[in-house]
Amino acid sequence: MGVLNVILEAVFDVLFAPFRSLGPWPGMIFISLATGILMLLIFKKTSNQEGIKRAKNQIKARLLEIRLFKNDTSGAFRAQGAMLGANFRYMGHALRPMLVMFIPVLFVLAQLNLRYGAAALQPGDQALVKVILAEGVSADESAASLQAPAGLVIETPPLRIEEEGEVDWRIRAGSPGLHRLTLTVGGETVEKLVAVGEEMPAKVSPLRSRKFFDLVLYPGEKPLPKGSPVSKIKIDFASRNLPLFGGSVNWLIAFFVLSLVFGFGLKGVFKVEI
């Protein structure tokens, strides 16, 4: 998973490269457009286009039937039943492409979350560094320590919570940059990236772990080494939204709306029956 994340991150870095200095929206629009097209192509290749067309025509025909024979109650019920059946067939045809699309879309979402989901700390901001220890490692006896580079300040001694297997610190952001915190537990050292002062769509990774689902959802850093006394390192970056007409909108909503708009808008160009 770590290798795949590295590859995907590099690909998305290339995709975002032309838009980095243009603010958050151009990159989001481009990725939504690319995803919309990708989804269309996947849909076209993996779905039964003829079947979908047929099912949609059947639905239309049954709708017409209901309107034309509205005085015939039993006929209207029959038409509704048939329409329901056609609907199920339509959904059945759409199921396979949906399943196929799920995996690439999940990776796209993870990469977008890395760039749009969390706000980098601003100089002066405080954040909580939460270290979850591996099973069997004692918080009290781990002698966990944290070292900060010049751009960060560690403001508190370690807070050890034995019952949760957790050690926490509070840090404060100093100067802008991508800083590396160094954590030492039981003689082993691991690092965690902390973004300060970076603007969207810079990468901000709130979690470093080695669990599979964490790696899928939170790319941006290498998995923690196997056998590490540390299970997870979390930083409570604030969530952020895309600015929109003086207000803001969640990036996930923006992405789904844009990719759907592009997908529907371009289905004629790519001759895809949806």
């Binding site: 405080q126 909580l128 939460k130 009290d140 403001e155 508190t156 001694p157 370690p158 807070l159 050890r160 919570i161 034995e162 019952e163 949760e164 926490d168 610190w169 509070r170 409570d236 007409f245 003086g246 207000g247 803001s248």
Partner: protein, 659 residues
């Protein structure tokens, strides 16, 4: 931007598009006629003329001195009584209390003899629907500002002159206007009170304290962990109206002085003796409904005792549960730019200091947060102040004089030389800070801006307490039902025989006759009998001397109709007490308690005050123009502001321009 703001902005944009780009029309839509002349008003609550002049002459307030030299400085006539809600209402409306109807911090309900807030009232929903255990409001339910008359920024709005009014007292809820206003003193916390802190402690001694303005909770440290509940507002969606609350947990490090506070939505790490940043707390009321507030934690001690202070739950300016600004989006705009901020009126927690929950340094740290927020927002408003009027209010001057007078004045019963060595200069420091704020403002404005610095009243020491109801009882005006029974001295007159009682005190300066047809069990006939009784009591009050010092306690006992004019005079207390320098009413008498002693020594940290006769504690006015008026008063400044924009003062305004 919430949905409503978005729709409003959209409607505004559509209107502009429809009107075209003609400058005057566009400006009318937004209520913004560009004015060449501008007026900047800085309101420093409680700035005292004696202290100001002393420190001006000593060169400690250089900006004040320089401005006074090129303009004018004068004592400013305050209101009767000189209480902030009354005084600021005089300034807001240009009327005296007989016109605006605010006579005291507290009024009374004549049907119950219970105190009620004078400035605002909350109406419950008149129609509700029950759904299982839930009660859903359908119609009604609102909070009302009880001040009468028109505010000067509403009059400016009539003439399309823009105004920004920052935290002016007595403007909660903000009166309807298109001007930018943010509510100040009088704005409640989320619980609906003037501010209730929560304090969690393992010290049993602290639990037994009777603490006004706060709640003390027993904390148990079990396995380096404390589980606690933070109380919130009453949940009116539930039939039995329980208190909404949220659980939180505090994790303590086994040896280091550091702890983590785990709230449902966020976690905070604090070292001992550290304040947290703002934490947003969400109280669940019913499925799909919750209400958010803001608190700051102060980890006072971890070991040997655990002590955690939680500030009153402030309304969240990003999503206020009650109206705190006009337009609604103004509070959210400030929150977006500056982050969460104190919204409760008078945010510094004087109750916590008075009850030893916070010490002097901790209180000042909290008030510094308030001041820091205010100064940042002032800078922002000054930068965009390009037309009309900007009013800016600072509360710290008032709060610090109330709490630190005892360390400035060696004669005060609560003077402590050791504390005075550290905090004796607190009041001087806040005066110097006001000088710095004035300098900041003067640097930001242009030559076309008129500057007015004012305070609503001055200050004086509070050495001795007068129990008005005890005096009334001793004089035979207030009678207990059973004089031989062990007297109940609780709040709200539990032992009073109203059928024989002719007068009672409620509020900080107010005395009411038990008048027939007005009070529920009134016995004094209105008209000549009431008039004669009022004058008799007033004369006796002025004649009363402190048995310990021989001094006159009440300098002026004014009969309402002698000092007030306007449509609200009938609602006024019958007599308004104006204390002599050094005296004030006791803490319990204003809430309807009848104490045993008439006079007591003030042994509270609340040691400076201003509930005097108006001439004892005037405010100040400092301006860049020469003052022509011989005895300017608060309501004169209202007329002065209108005059600055060429607006005729309304007929019901009693003030006259001072320039």
């Amino acid at each position: 931007m919430n949905r409503r703001s978005f729709l409003k902005a959209g409607a505004g944009a559509a209107a502009m598009a429809a009107l075209g780009t003609r400058r005057e029309l566009v400006q009318k839509v937004l209520g913004k006629t560009a004015t060449r002349g501008k007026v900047l008003v800085l309101g420093f609550d409680g700035l005292d003329p004696r202290l100001t002049q002393t420190w001006m002459s000593e060169g400690k307030l250089p900006t004040f001195r320089a401005l006074a030299a090129r303009g004018g400085f004068s004592r400013l006539g305050t209101s009767t009584p000189p209480q902030s809600p009354v005084a600021w209402s005089n300034f807001i409306t240009g009327m005296n209390p007989g016109g605006h109807g605010i006579f005291d911090f507290m009024h009374r309900d004549p049907k119950t003899y219970y105190p009620v807030f004078s400035a605002s009232a909350t109406d419950e929903a008149v129609k509700t629907v029950r759904l299982g255990k839930y009660v859903l409001p359908v119609k009604g339910g609102k909070v009302r500002n009880l001040r009468k008359g028109r505010d000067f920024w509403q009059i400016l709005e009539d003439h399309d002159i823009p105004a920004t009014i920052f935290k002016i007292p007595s403007n909660y809820p903000p009166v309807p206007t298109k001007q930018r206003t943010l509510a100040g003193m009088g704005t409640p916390d989320l619980v609906g009170s003037y501010g209730i802190f929560n304090y969690y402690t393992t010290e049993p001694l602290e639990l037994n304290q009777d603490v006004g303005g706060g709640r003390i909770h027993m904390a148990y440290v079990i396995g380096n962990r404390v589980d606690a509940k933070l109380p919130g507002p009453v949940n009116t969606f539930l039939e039995d109206r329980p208190e909404a609350e949220i659980d939180f947990r505090v994790y303590l490090d086994p040896s280091e002085p550091v702890a983590k506070i785990a709230l449902p939505d966020q976690e905070l790490i604090l070292k001992e003796k550290e304040w947290s940043r703002w934490a947003r707390v969400r109280f669940p009321l019913m499925p799909t409904q919750n209400v958010t507030g803001l608190v700051r934690f102060y980890l006072k001690e971890i070991r040997p005792a655990f002590k955690l202070y939680v500030s009153p739950v402030n309304l969240d300016p990003a999503d206020p549960a009650l109206p705190i600004s006009t337009p609604e989006s103004y509070a959210a705009e400030l929150e977006k730019r500056f982050g969460p901020f104190y919204t409760k009126g008078l945010p510094a927690d004087t109750s916590a200091l008075d009850n030893d929950v916070l010490d002097e340094g901790e209180f000042l740290a909290q008030d510094d947060q308030v001041l820091e927020e205010s100064r940042a927002m002032l800078e922002y408003e000054l930068k965009r102040f390009d037309s009309g009027l900007l009013f800016y209010y600072i509360s710290s001057t008032d709060q610090r004089q109330h709490m630190f007078w005892r360390l400035l004045d060696e004669k005060h019963p609560m003077y402590d030389p050791a504390l005075a060595a550290v905090y004796g200069g607190t009041i001087e420091r806040i005066y110097r800070e006001t000088d710095d704020i004035l300098a900041q403002a003067l640097a930001a404005i242009d030559k076309d801006t008129t500057v007015i610095v004012l305070s609503d009243h001055g200050f004086n020491p509070f050495y001795r307490c007068f129990n008005l109801n005890a005096w009334l009882k001793a004089e035979g005006y207030h009678v207990f039902a059973n004089p031989f029974k062990k007297e109940e001295r609780g709040l709200g007159f539990p032992s009073t025989d109203w059928s024989r009682t002719r007068a009672y005190g409620l509020g900080l300066n107010s005395l009411y006759l038990n008048q027939r047809g007005r009070e529920a069990e009134g016995i004094v006939a209105p008209g000549a009998e009431a008039e004669a009784l009022a004058r008799e009591i007033a004369a006796k009050l002025e004649a009363y001397r402190d048995p310990q010092t021989g001094e006159q306690v009440i300098l002026r006992a004014a009969v309402a109709r002698d000092v007030y004019s306007g449509p609200c005079v009938a609602d006024a207390p019958d007599i308004i007490l104006g204390f002599s320098r050094g005296y004030r009413i006791s803490n319990s008498s204003p809430l309807g308690q009848v104490n045993r002693e008439i006079m007591e020594t003030n042994n509270e940290k609340w040691s400076g005050d201003h509930m005097t006769a108006a001439e004892v504690t005037p405010g100040i006015v400092l301006t860049d123009r020469s003052i022509r008026a011989e005895a300017p008063a608060l309501y004169d400044l209202t007329a002065t502001i209108l005059q600055s924009f060429g607006i005729e003062r309304p007929a019901d305004m009693v003030g006259k321009p001072i320039f």
